[in-house]
């Protein structure tokens, strides 16, 4: 029993059921819509469409989860994406920039916007939500100024980043060859990683996981990959795996690595987990905050450019409500509202939940009003779930219920000192002199 639950824990990445629950949510949502739409949700055409249409949620969720881990938020991502999109579109329409250069310009504009917002958040310490709330309006306006409030079409040479596919080649088996190859590469990578991880744990001298855990995990992941590969490989003629999927995939890999394995990644968690302790450990928290804000806007720029490519035009209302999709994705993905907790991988699952939700609702022909209500409820539910999780069996339940409505600032309070003597190992008679109260 305990062995089994240990296995479960390792299977779910050491986080127990909470990481599990969002996968369950994702599967449930897919199944519900699959039944509801009469099997159309997992139709290859729809899946390809969905990846192209909603990849922006994936890209934004990556940046958003990093910000939320560090205890900030960005409400301006939709407007920033729209602003960058229109700048890119106009640069090609008016200055006739080549597509590549236009994309570079877009990234630079995103970085500048991020630096502007990051400066206020990190160095003047204006709360991020209000800086970006203002940014939401400023860059929405800037979008309409640059684009004269009209849609600006983009050339085909550019659009491939949004609606392009991996080029087909080789003999025709009835499947898209590059997609099959990609699928094989992914499966190979998964197996290699599992073996590598096992070896590493053995070298660490840690108890190696039971073999069945590895096998189950590999079978599951490879199964999903094979299923996805066939979905993408059996689409309409001329389609294969979308370019946006590649872009999102690369970003996910890179940022997963950054957050989990680099010094910078550790600093993000440190700042979000306990800012005072982080500073006292030599973390330059202002620099971290600045870079995170800037990074978010660059990713918003990428999301905006991809979206424009798929729509083949940049419009004045692009990106409205994107921030909510991204934030909801992050919270669905298991990040904590007060920072310090969250993973890129979890947020990606959350982003898939949001994408399938949006896709399914639109397939059902539900009108915008209900979609809006449901999205609001999902955000609230995700946040409530986090709070509920936090109150499970932790001492903070009392603080929450008795009105601890605000995060305790890390200053030396009596309560904090009082909280210390719990759980000493050996309660013995002669302990009076370490009562931490004066």
């Amino acid at each position: 029993m305990s062995k089994f639950s240990d296995g479960m824990r390792t299977l779910t990445g050491g986080r127990g059921l909470s990481q599990y629950s969002m996968i369950i949510a994702l599967v449930a949502i897919i199944l519900v819509f699959e039944i509801w739409t009469g099997g159309y949700t997992l139709d290859p055409t729809n899946v390809i469409n969905m990846v192209q249409q909603y990849s922006y949620i994936l890209i934004l969720a990556i940046g958003m989860v990093m910000l939320i881990i560090a205890g900030h938020i960005d409400l301006s991502v939709g407007s920033v994406a729209a602003f960058v999109g229109i700048v890119v579109a106009q640069s090609m329409a008016v200055w006739h920039l080549p597509a590549g250069l236009a994309m570079l310009l877009g990234l630079v504009v995103g970085a500048l916007v991020g630096a502007w917002q990051g400066f206020w958040v990190a160095y003047v310490r204006v709360p991020a939500f209000i800086v970006t709330l203002a940014g939401q309006l400023i860059f929405r306006g800037a979008n309409q100024v640059v684009g004269n409030s009209t849609a600006v079409p983009t050339p085909d040479s550019y659009n491939w980043i949004g609606n392009g596919f991996l080029p087909d080649f080789g003999p025709d088996f009835g499947y898209s060859n590059p997609t099959l190859i990609l699928g094989l590469v992914v499966i190979a990578a998964l197996i290699w990683k599992e073996v590598h991880d096992r070896r590493k744990r053995v070298r660490m001298g840690a108890s190696p996981q039971p073999v069945w855990v590895s096998v189950v995990r590999l079978v599951l992941l490879c199964g999903i990959t094979i299923f996805a590969t066939f979905l993408f490989a059996t689409g309409r003629v001329g389609t294969s795996f979308p370019i946006v999927g590649i872009i999102a995939g690369v970003l996910i890999l890179v940022y997963s690595f950054v957050t989990s394995s680099t010094v910078f990644g550790r600093h993000i968690y440190a700042v979000g987990g306990n800012a005072s302790a982080a500073v006292l450990s030599g973390v330059k928290s202002r620099g971290v905050n600045f870079l995170l804000m800037m990074n978010m806007s660059i990713l918003a720029a990428v999301a905006g450019m991809v979206f424009v490519g798929n729509a083949q035009a940049s419009g004045p209302f692009d990106g409205t409500g994107w921030e909510l999709d991204a934030i909801a994705a992050v919270f669905v993905g298991g990040a904590a509202i007060f920072g310090g907790v969250g993973t890129v991988a979890g947020s990606i699952i959350g982003a898939f939940v949001m994408a399938f939700l949006a896709n399914g609702l639109s397939l059902l022909g539900l009108d915008a009003s209900w979609v809006s209500i449901i999205r609001g409820l999902v955000l609230l539910a995700a946040v409530a779930f986090d709070v509920y999780n936090k109150t499970q069996g932790r001492p903070s339940i009392i603080g929450l219920l008795l009105g601890g409505f605000r995060r305790k600032k890390p200053n030396i309070t009596e309560e904090a000192i009082q909280a210390q003597p719990q759980g000493l190992e050996k309660p013995s008679g002669d302990q009076v002199d370490k009562v931490p109260l004066s």
């Binding site: 206020w120 004045p316 009108d367 609001g376």
Partner: protein
Amino acid sequence: MSRERRGTARDLPDPSAGYTLRDMVSGFGGRLRDGELGSLPVVVGLVVIAVLFQALNPRFLAPGNLVNLTLQAAPLGVIALGVVVVLLVAQIDLSVGSVSGLASAVVGVAAMRLQWPLLVGIAAAIAAGAAIGAFYGFLLTRFGVPSFLITLAGLLGFLGVQLVLLGPSGSINIPFSNPLVQFANTWFLPPWAAYVIAGVAAMGVLGAGLARRRRRLRAQLPAEHPSVSIVKAVLLLGVLCLAVWYLSLDRGTAVMPVLFLLLVVAISYLLRRTRWGRSVFAVGGNPDAARRAGLPVTRTLVTAFMICSAFAALGGVLQAARLGSATTLTGSADTNLNAIAAAIIGGTSLFGGRGGAWSAVLGVLVISAISSGLTLLNLDSSVRYMVTGAVLLLAVIVDSLSRRSRASRGRA
């Protein structure tokens, strides 16, 4: 308008010395030197805005435009007034726009589709607002979910409810004959009534000042010299009469802005003169200390959110009345930010505990003046968005910086 706080000398005041005009002036100068600018920058900003737009378009300060401006400002002002209360308890409500839109839809549906009596419809809208606020307050105090997240979800959710209520057509027209629309567009005070109100307000200030002086003297406290009250009253009378006269060159003083000012006076009274008002400031200033002092922190937070949402609802009703319709666009886009920006520009701190009801008036004047000026210049909504965003950011930056400078001078 607020009680003079720091005008008197720091040492033990000599009860006979009292508080004279000179003290008022020197106290004002002293505050300036202390960096406690109060509402001065806003007033200066307003003047700058007026001069700038007047130079660009001479119709800006024309009576007709100013009458429009007062009508335009009132609904937003009501919403901003609610935001002030929530900011004072160091929380925020990002959903006031949606809630106002929802309320406009409720009134539209109730009065037009269901043919309910108008007042019942309005009451239903405001009650819906209060219920939403209570819900927010409950989530916040019971579970500790940060208010900006709850209200962000609310922003989306209630926008959806608004759209559902409006149905597929997306709008409900309220005919011009409807008293609600008439109230918001054609109800103007007759000039004599406007002057009488101005006179009553001035007399009120004078009377209250003198009465306070009498009671303070009886209590052997230093009191203002009568000249202070008289000068204040005369100044107020002059300003009000000038405004009434100038507006009367066009259609005159509208009823809706007067209603807004009455609400401001009422909230100001509640904040300054009741226990509830004290606990609002205390909770916003230092919730731990407030709890230690035995104040009802939870109740204060919940009521603050209820007031905010109820006022947002009322603002939405007025908005619908002014436009003669409830549409999907009522309360959309920049209403939210305009209201929050107005409250902060007017001098209410984002960080709680500092500010007052009158900041809604000043802030909404700035926001409406900018918006009206830009409209006159034929600049479209995009520029207005940018300017509003920039003004909001500016106000918050000033707020953050002044908080830090106060902290560094040991006054946080």
